[in-house]
């Protein structure tokens, strides 16, 4: 089966680059707006607090539970919601307790007595100090991986490629965070893992397009960068779509079947896969053009490199023959 034909006419991506730039820019601005005005909903991993999952036999008496807990001074502001089904509830509260002996789950057991047959399935409590530490570490992880990737691409390609891919990366992460803010998804450690995966994934896509552009610079006759980019992007379109599809499939199955605990994680990935694919085609490549990447310069540099290598080889050969 072939969706994209071999003799697929080259698509004029770069001619429409401005339109996509406007789209991207507005998405990024909207995301920033969401992040500022709505804000990320930090979960307990980063903000501290407690989440208790309770499973009832039969339907959970959510109203009764709310009434009981809201009367208690520690749980006045507790947020009680269904969790995946009508018999599961999640109790979220800012309250934490340092006491090892008697903790929130014990207290919860006393409070919920008489609400029916239930089982406390999980308790996650993160003290404020730990939350801060996790947040700092998470931020560090993000910054460090961006620096690492930037360094690697500069080394393998050229600084403009690195800059373009990092801008695309920031574009993807911002929009993903915007989506998290829009849907007020709890931002916990797994979400951070998902965002870092998107970093890697989106880059993966961008690198493959760039690799084709790098190849195109050598093989395509035109010195017009936008022609080279158009042709390269068209040639990789099939691959980009297919890989995105397979990844999208599995992330979708994770979202649908992976259980309530992986919902936020897989949602983040879903958004990231879509945005990451889009950005590798419509964001990263035009930026390369706008950064005034010059093909002739690049070719000259490559030729220079080749010459130096040849020279070195000649020297080595001479050395081995004993003439030097």
């Amino acid at each position: 089966m072939e969706v994209f034909k071999y003799n697929q006419p080259i698509i004029g991506f770069m001619a429409n680059a401005k339109k996509f730039a406007i789209l991207s820019l507005s998405l990024v601005i909207i995301s920033f707006g969401l992040l500022i005005f709505k804000g990320l909903n930090y979960g307990i991993d980063f903000a501290g607090g407690t989440v208790i999952q309770v499973k009832y036999k039969g339907n959970a008496p959510i109203q009764q539970i709310r009434d009981i807990l809201h009367q208690h001074k520690s749980y006045k502001n507790a947020n009680i919601t269904y969790f995946g089904s009508n018999s599961d509830i999640a109790i979220k509260t800012k309250t934490t307790s340092k006491d090892v002996n008697v903790d929130i789950s014990d207290q919860m057991n006393t409070l919920l007595k008489g609400t029916g047959e239930y089982e406390i399935r999980a308790v996650d409590m993160v003290g404020p100090a730990v939350g801060n530490e996790l947040r700092t570490k998470g931020l560090m992880a993000m910054v460090l991986s961006i620096i690492g990737i930037l360094a690697y691409i500069s080394f393998r390609f050229e600084w403009r490629f690195a800059l373009a891919s990092v801008i695309a990366l920031i574009h993807d992460v911002t929009i993903t965070l915007g989506a998290l803010a829009l849907f007020q998804i709890d931002v916990n450690l797994p979400i951070l893992a998902a965002i870092l995966t998107i970093l890697g994934y989106s880059l993966n896509d961008t690198v493959i397009v760039f690799d084709r552009i790098r190849e195109g610079i050598r093989t395509i006759k035109s010195t017009n960068l936008s022609d080279v980019i158009d042709e390269s992007v068209t040639r990789t379109l099939s691959r980009t779509t297919l890989t995105s599809l397979t990844t999208f499939f599995v992330v979708l199955t994770l979202y649908l079947f992976g259980g309530e605990l992986l919902k936020g994680f897989s949602f983040t990935l879903l958004v990231g896969v879509i945005v990451g694919t889009y950005s590798s085609i419509f964001v990263a490549s035009p930026i390369l053009m706008w950064l005034k990447f010059s093909i002739s310069e690049f070719r000259a540099k490559e030729a220079e490199k080749l010459k130096r290598e040849k020279e070195r080889e000649r020297m080595r050969a001479m050395y081995e023959q004993g003439t030097l």
Binding site: D103, I120, G138, L196, D211, R239, L254
Partner: protein, 525 residues
């Protein structure tokens, strides 16, 4: 078919290796190295504790106070009541002639102590070195003590480890009920601080109306009875001896009431102090205090030699058992607090395993079928590599006895989607070359060549993100980055080297007139 080439041989070996070493994990056999399930999948308790090491410093001061008092008594040095205030030991010497003797004792037996002298008044404090040492020791001791307790409790493979400067990580898998969890938490947190204290018989009659401050003035302390909070005792605040001189503690039963109680035994030094004290204080009461609660205060009838004693209270057999464990493993020098707690019930863990397995199977099948439909036999070859990849991930994780967490499962599912990427890139290249009219051999060789740099660069960038995640992540997140990293590395072997080898091996079978079947393309020249 061609002769076996080195690529396909390596691939087959890797495949076989993957199958063999993932068997113990897949079969959950007891033999061989296998993957352990994380607490989030098998259920259990994860706690990050912090140690209040300041308290250890305070009790260090107290215990130095106790020893000084004992030494001075022993040497017949007369001094006015020894008091502990604000982390310092204060006392006044009554006889000036004892000064050289006192100085000698302080110099010889108590190093790392600052001595402030005003006339015959002494104030002793710990120096910074000793304070630091005491704090460090308290943390180390807490780790050892908690580990001992959990081991003695007989649980399967608890983990107790120091984390960072002053935190302790405790992981206890396989807890079945909440009551069990609470019992374990109590065992961990129990100070198990045993003290024998003299009752201040001169003033005890007034204890019910006495304030804490007044008691302090006399060098006393007010403690309550364990079973009756209204009943108070006035005790000398410097204990006669404490649990550090304990060598054994066992559950026993009272002969008359058949109530569980705890028999303990003191070491030689403790037995001597106990004997001396009881000999000198016949007719007075001595309180047995555990974690600042008075369990009993019997009247001393005669000198008690041999150094054994009993703690009685209204224990259930379970409580007595846990207290005995706590006493045997030693007191916590400083109390611990919970900074982070994650507890997962066994049923939730089982649900998570089921859900992520379904996601893995559905995701895997849809990718496998998709690859076959789109690429024909080339897709099947990619699928074989994908299966080998899955086995390799399991095998490598088994060999390292790595922990599989829920995010780790998600990582494996994600790898399924991303590992075929390499084959998609390769197949697209091969198709391009076939369309351009190249021979099958040339298309395959050239296709692999062209695709290599892209796959390499893309994988390395993902790997960079995964490694950073591993270095900075905690617990489950580490599991995620681990499976992703192993998946990427394994895919280089299976998806690039392995499939290449298979093509070279079966090359003569590939019919150039059936490119539709082999590569899923029509109309190539």
């Amino acid at each position: 078919m061609n002769k076996l080439n080195y690529r396909v041989v390596i691939f087959l070996f890797a495949f076989l290796f993957g199958i063999i070493f993932s068997i113990p994990s897949l079969m959950q056999s007891s033999e061989g190295k296998k993957i352990t399930l994380g607490l989030d999948l098998q259920g259990g308790l994860h706690m990050l504790l912090s140690v209040k090491s300041e308290v250890a410093v305070e009790s260090k001061v107290k215990s130095i106070g106790t020893t000084i008092k004992y030494k001075l008594d022993d040497e017949d040095i007369i001094f006015d009541d020894l008091k502990i205030e604000d982390k310092s030991i204060k006392f006044e010497l009554l006889d000036k002639d004892d000064l050289p003797k006192l100085m000698k004792i302080l110099k010889d037996d108590f190093k790392d102590i600052n001595i402030k002298q005003e006339g015959l008044k002494f104030t002793l404090t710990l120096n910074n070195k000793l304070i630091e040492e005491t704090k460090k020791n308290a943390i180390k001791q807490a780790v050892d003590t908690i580990r001992n307790r959990l081991n003695m409790f007989g649980l399967a493979e608890p983990t107790v480890a120091k984390q960072g400067v002053d935190k302790i990580l405790v992981e206890v898998p396989g807890i079945k009920t909440q009551a069990d969890e609470q019992r374990i938490r109590e065992l961990i947190a129990k100070a198990a601080h045993l003290q024998m204290m003299a009752v201040d018989e001169d003033r005890d009659a007034r204890v019910s109306t006495m304030s804490e401050a007044e008691a302090k003035q006399y060098g006393d302390i007010i403690l309550t009875d364990v079973s009756n909070p209204k009943k108070k005792y006035l005790l000398r605040s410097i204990p006669i001896l404490d649990g550090s001189m304990l060598v054994d503690a066992k559950v026993g039963y009272d002969r008359q009431t058949n109530q569980p109680l705890i028999n303990f035994k003191l070491n030689g030094r403790g037995a001597k102090i106990f004997g001396d004290f009881s000999g000198k204080n016949v007719g007075k009461r001595m309180a047995i205090v555990l974690d600042n609660k008075v369990y009993s205060a019997p009247v001393i009838r005669e000198r008690i030699g041999g150094g054994s004693g009993q703690i009685s209270g209204n224990f259930t057999p379970q409580e007595a058992h846990d207290i005995a464990i706590a006493l045997r493993s030693g007191a916590l020098l400083a109390p611990v607090q919970v900074e982070e707690k994650r507890s997962v019930g066994p049923s939730l863990g089982a649900d998570s395993i089921r859900a992520s397995m379904i996601a893995l199977i559905v995701g895997f099948l849809s990718v496998v079928v998709f690859m076959f439909i789109y690429y024909g036999m080339a897709g099947v070859i990619a699928d074989i590599a994908l299966i080998a990849n899955l086995f390799l991930i399991l095998a490598i994780m088994s060999l390292f006895e790595a922990t599989l967490t829920l995010p780790g499962m998600a990582g494996i599912v994600l790898t399924v989607g991303m590992a075929v990427d390499a084959n998609v890139i390769i197949n697209e290249r091969v198709r391009e070359l076939l369309h351009a009219g190249n021979s099958i051999t040339k298309s395959i060789e050239q296709g692999y060549n062209n695709a290599f740099t892209a796959i390499w660069d893309a994988n390395i960038t993902t790997l960079i993100a995964a490694v950073v995640l591993f270095a900075y992540g905690t617990g489950p997140i580490k599991g995620f980055s681990l499976t992703i990293s192993i998946g990427i590395l394994a895919s280089m072997l299976t998806a690039i080297l392995g499939t290449h080898g298979i093509y070279q091996w079966i090359l003569p079978k590939i019919d150039k007139n059936r490119l539709d079947f082999w590569f899923g393309i029509k109309g190539a020249k």
